[in-house]
Amino acid sequence: MKPNKVDAIGFAALVGVAALAYFGLIRGQTQRLNALRQQNAMLTQVLLQNEGLEKELERDRSEVAPLQEKLNAFAGSFVRRNEIDAFLQHFATDAERTGVSVNLLRPGEPQKQLHYQYTPITLHLEGRFPAIYALLHGIDYGKNLAVIEELQFQGEPEKEIGRGALILNLFLKPEEASKQP
């Protein structure tokens, strides 16, 4: 074999190996590496953008607990449906103690508010102003969540008594609010 032919074969082999390596291995791996780099950069960016989320979650969780405690603290101020009679009985006892006559006491159908329900109770009362005031004071500052919505009193100067009607809304337990009246 002539030396020139050996050189040609050797050169061809060299070029072949180099080409095979580049096209078969290096180029593909370089492209894959670049793609991985880009993906990782994107993921890192996403992670950086959401860096403070865990702290935010912890902060929110720590805020929810005291709010829930506050809400639970109000649990006792609501009455259950079957406790309305007890509330009215207690009210009648208070009225008797303060010297107010209860001429009418009529609970209505439960009404829905945003998250709660309340029962409107119509009352007709008769008595001296200080006694009525004491009775209303008991509603406004009482344990149960009750709001005097309407109040109308007419005085009788000769007898020094007032006669009137009021509607108070007695709020029901939140879990009862989910039930339709």
């Binding site: 002539k2 074969i9 060299l14 180099a18 290096i26 929810v64 829930q68 945003l114 005097i148």
Partner: protein, 204 residues
């Protein structure tokens, strides 16, 4: 010029060709080794990147979980805040006794009321807040439209003026309006009959 042949006599053409071929093979092998080392290096980098990517993906998945938790907590917090705001709003409406107290204090034994009425503050119809819009304040308490009407008699105009002034100065009442006043005979006395209208002050 005389040519000197330095090639040994026993050195043959075939030996020369073999050596040249060996040199080329060594060269090709060296290039192959170099390329292989580059390939191995790239492979190591790819493996490292893949491991890194797996870690980043697991972190991203954890972030997704955190986001979901955050959303749940936010919804829970919003619901609790709405409920609390409603309770506070209801509590703020428990103003009847303090207002009666203010009115009684303003009467000062020279003004006599024969009619007191608080009316008009009916609960608003239920309007559930649209999902995802607004805060608890959007589901606010119904507008305070409770009207307080006072009818009675005063001994003199001055007493009536003082009564109205004291009501106006009250922190619990708003817009104290004298609807009318006139002199009226009551039990052989000339008293000042009046009607006053005012509104409970609402606020946080």
């Amino acid at each position: 010029m005389k040519q000197i042949n330095l090639i040994p006599a026993d050195y043959k053409q075939s030996q020369y060709v073999r050596r040249r071929a060996i040199t080329w093979i060594a060269f090709v092998l060296a290039v192959a080794a170099m390329v292989s080392s580059i390939g191995l290096n790239l492979n190591a980098k790819i493996t490292r990147m893949q491991r890194e990517q797996a870690q980043l993906q697991s972190k991203t998945e954890a972030i997704d979980d955190v986001k979901a938790d955050l959303q749940v907590v936010a919804v829970e917090k919003k619901a609790i805040c709405e409920k609390l705001q409603e309770i506070y709003a209801v509590q703020r409406r428990r103003t009847s006794t303090p207002i009666l107290h203010e009115i009684a204090a303003a009467c000062n034994d020279k003004v006599f009321l024969n009619q007191v009425s608080f009316a008009g503050d009916r609960a608003a119809p239920v309007q559930p807040a649209p999902a995802g819009s607004g805060t608890a304040s959007s589901a606010a308490e119904p507008p305070a439209t409770r009207r307080i009407t006072l009818k009675g008699y005063a001994l003199t105009n001055l007493d009536l003026t003082q009564f109205v002034s004291m009501l106006s100065a009250s922190t619990l009442l708003n817009e104290v309006n004298m609807k009318f006043w006139r002199q009226e005979p009551v039990r052989e006395l000339k008293l000042i009959g009046f009607e006053i209208e005012c509104f409970p002050r609402t606020g946080p």
